[in-house]
């Protein structure tokens, strides 16, 4: 190759590489936000209902990432390289790490009275509610189970049971309530008692690690009694699964948004959280995904099946137990180790 041609090729290659390096800001102005959630249809709905309308109203660009990973958040903060701004997490995470891994929020423009008690923390706001609810296979059982005690009743309700495979998944609360603990005295959890109760059905017990597995099991009919998220129960019934909910003592939980500590886009993140804390976006989200809004004024238009699994409905709320987020924030690490030891033996 002649020198000039070689130099020309090199220059062209260099230009191509450099153009890739230039950050693409799109149509937005100076505001950028990196939003991280759990991906797929869930995050898509969050984009349709929340991030895209917000971005359009303030002229910002939103970059999506997934899935939320506590390990990555820890790593980012340790290294000082914050790649995520706003993240959707389980409620205990911002409570346990307020000020260390997530920023404290500015509540001047957020009306916290509209959210259920115990769902707001100095570092997070709730954006949706869901419940962990007991579901039973209508093909297996002619008589419907009516309480958590039936979940542990192998004589009258034989069959395969399924619970979430981590300590905070709800299985411990399920076991204690079935063992006769009153909802008011549920927390702090008597973990040993819960494990002992679960051991009574250990041979018939299987575990689910991801919510997709729990949904698949219902659709395939490979379990008879299961303890799943209400959103997945909706999806399964929508796909024809023969399962019905038993709402007594369902465990209400919620998803929260928080800002990673040291986020380079603090202004944009705060603005987005203020937007997501209002009724409209939460209602829009509830219409797209089988989760209920956390905001009291949100009035989503729901189909009959969606209304059936709408945990914000008073009929369900009156039977619900609210997960004690502070307890889990304080004890999650220890209980997860105990759960790992118990489940793997």
């Amino acid at each position: 190759m002649r020198t000039t041609t070689r130099l020309g090729a090199l220059a062209a290659a260099g230009a191509l590489v450099l153009s890739g390096c230039a950050a693409d800001n799109g149509a937005g102005g100076d505001l950028t936000l990196v939003f991280t959630s759990y991906g797929s249809a869930y995050q898509q709905a969050q984009n349709d209902a929340m991030t895209t309308p917000w971005a359009e109203s303030v002229g910002a660009t939103v970059i999506n990432d997934e899935p939320t990973s506590y390990a990555r958040i820890q790593q980012m903060v340790d290294a000082g390289q914050i790649e995520w701004d706003v993240v959707d997490t389980e409620p205990f995470f911002p409570v346990a790490n307020c000020g260390t891994l997530v920023e404290e929020l500015d509540f001047t423009n957020i009306d916290t009275s509209k959210f259920p008690e115990g769902t707001v923390s100095p570092c997070s706001i709730p954006i949706l509610q869901y419940s962990t609810v007991m579901m039973y296979n209508t093909d297996t059982y002619d008589v419907a189970p009516t309480s958590y005690e039936d979940f542990f009743d192998l004589e009258n309700f034989p069959g395969v049971r399924s619970v979430p495979n981590w300590g905070a998944g709800g299985a411990l609360e399920l076991a204690l309530l079935a063992d006769g603990v009153a909802p008011e005295s549920l927390y702090p959890l008597d973990v040993d008692r819960a494990f002992a109760k679960l051991d009574t059905i250990r041979d018939s017990l299987v575990f689910w690690n991801t919510s997709s597995e729990s949904q698949q099991a219902m659709e395939d009919g490979t379990v008879d009694l299961t303890f799943v998220w209400s959103g997945r129960a909706y999806e399964a019934e929508n796909n024809g699964a023969a399962f019905e909910p038993m709402w007594e003592n369902n465990l209400i939980a919620w998803a929260t948004l928080s800002i990673i500590k040291g986020s380079p886009n603090l202004e944009a993140a705060q603005s987005f959280i203020e937007y997501a804390a209002t009724a409209e976006p939460q209602a829009r989200f509830a219409e797209l995904q089988p989760y209920s809004p956390a905001h009291a004024d949100a009035q989503p238009e729901l189909s009959e099946l969606q209304q059936k699994y709408n945990v914000a409905d008073t009929a369900i709320q009156s039977q619900a137990i609210v997960t004690d987020v502070q307890f889990w924030a304080d004890n999650s690490a220890e209980i997860e180790e105990l759960w790992a030891a118990w489940s793997t033996s």
């Binding site: 395969v160 395939d220 997860e336 793997t344």
Partner: protein, 282 residues
């Protein structure tokens, strides 16, 4: 054109740099963390060694790996031997049969096994037809082994095949001409010569099996959890990097010890089989 030795070393530099930067540094970092968080000392290891889960899961991981190796030997050795006996067309077919699962996505295969092994699935029905009703293999050790063996068998077969390809078949003919029948010739001539290849393949399959995560997670219950899953929980759920580093270091050291012990045990066995020092080392 021959390259002087010192220039040859330079050619190694890119590979060494990559291995160093993307492998040694991150692993070194996480192992160093296990000795320095929260304070410099062995507290992470004290905690891990005192926890019965560590020993139970580690033992289970080695046992599962060993079972996988045994199953691979039972299924893979005859297959590899067959590959040396047949003509070129049949051999190509056999190689393709081994490689096609190899090329298929791990996730696709594992999910296919979930479908097959689940309650009231095809395998359950098949077992019922053979007089074993109501058996579900999903969430049991046999289920996990089925998945692991299917994934690791191509590694085993190809490694053994590559090894035994070099065995001169005329040795068997020679043995038979000296009076041995076919079986004796195979047992006393061919089999001992193929042992180094089998050992190499077994070591490969064993080490790969130790790191399995997705397959036991999806096909097994928590009672079949292997060490990689426990490390995963420690990283993702507990965000305990030091503990994860500690477990990884424990795994690394115990694997090295185990292979060292196996090597020491096998040396006299191989010598007894009549293999020379040089072949044993191969």
């Amino acid at each position: 054109m021959t390259i002087p030795a010192r220039w040859a070393v330079l050619l190694l530099l890119p590979a060494l740099a990559m291995t160093g930067a993307f492998f040694l540094v991150p692993i070194g970092d996480i192992i160093v963390r296990s000795f320095t968080e929260p304070v410099v000392g062995l507290q992470v290891y004290e905690r891990l060694f005192a926890d019965p889960t560590t020993w139970r899961v580690l033992g289970r991981t080695f046992a599962t790996g060993a079972l996988t190796v045994l199953l691979c030997i039972a299924l893979g050795y005859p297959y590899a031997y067959l590959m040396t006996l047949v003509g070129p067309t049949m051999r190509t077919i056999l190689i393709v049969l081994v490689l096609v699962p190899f090329w298929t996505s791990l996730m696709a295969r594992t999910f296919a096994w979930i479908s097959l092994l689940q309650r009231d699935g095809p395998v359950s029905a098949l077992l019922a037809a053979f007089g074993l009703p109501g058996v579900t293999l999903l969430g049991t050790l046999p289920g996990v082994l089925i998945g692991m063996v299917q994934i690791l068998l191509p590694y085993f077969v190809l490694t053994v095949y590559a090894g035994i390809l070099g065995i001169d078949r005329r040795l068997i003919t020679a043995a038979m001409s000296l009076g041995a029948n076919r079986f004796r010739a195979f047992l006393q001539v061919y089999l001992p010569l193929s042992v180094p290849a089998v050992i190499a393949a077994s070591a490969l399959v064993f080490i790969l099996a130790l790191g399995f995560y997705i397959t036991p997670q999806l096909l097994g219950s928590p009672q079949e959890s292997l060490i990689a899953q426990v490390i995963g929980v420690r990283v993702e759920r507990l965000v305990d990097f030091a503990g994860a580093g500690g477990l990884s270091a424990i795994l690394l050291v115990s694997t090295a010890l185990l292979l060292g012990i196996v090597g020491l045990v096998f040396r006299p066995i191989l010598r007894a089989l009549g293999l020379s020092r040089a072949e044993v080392r191969a």
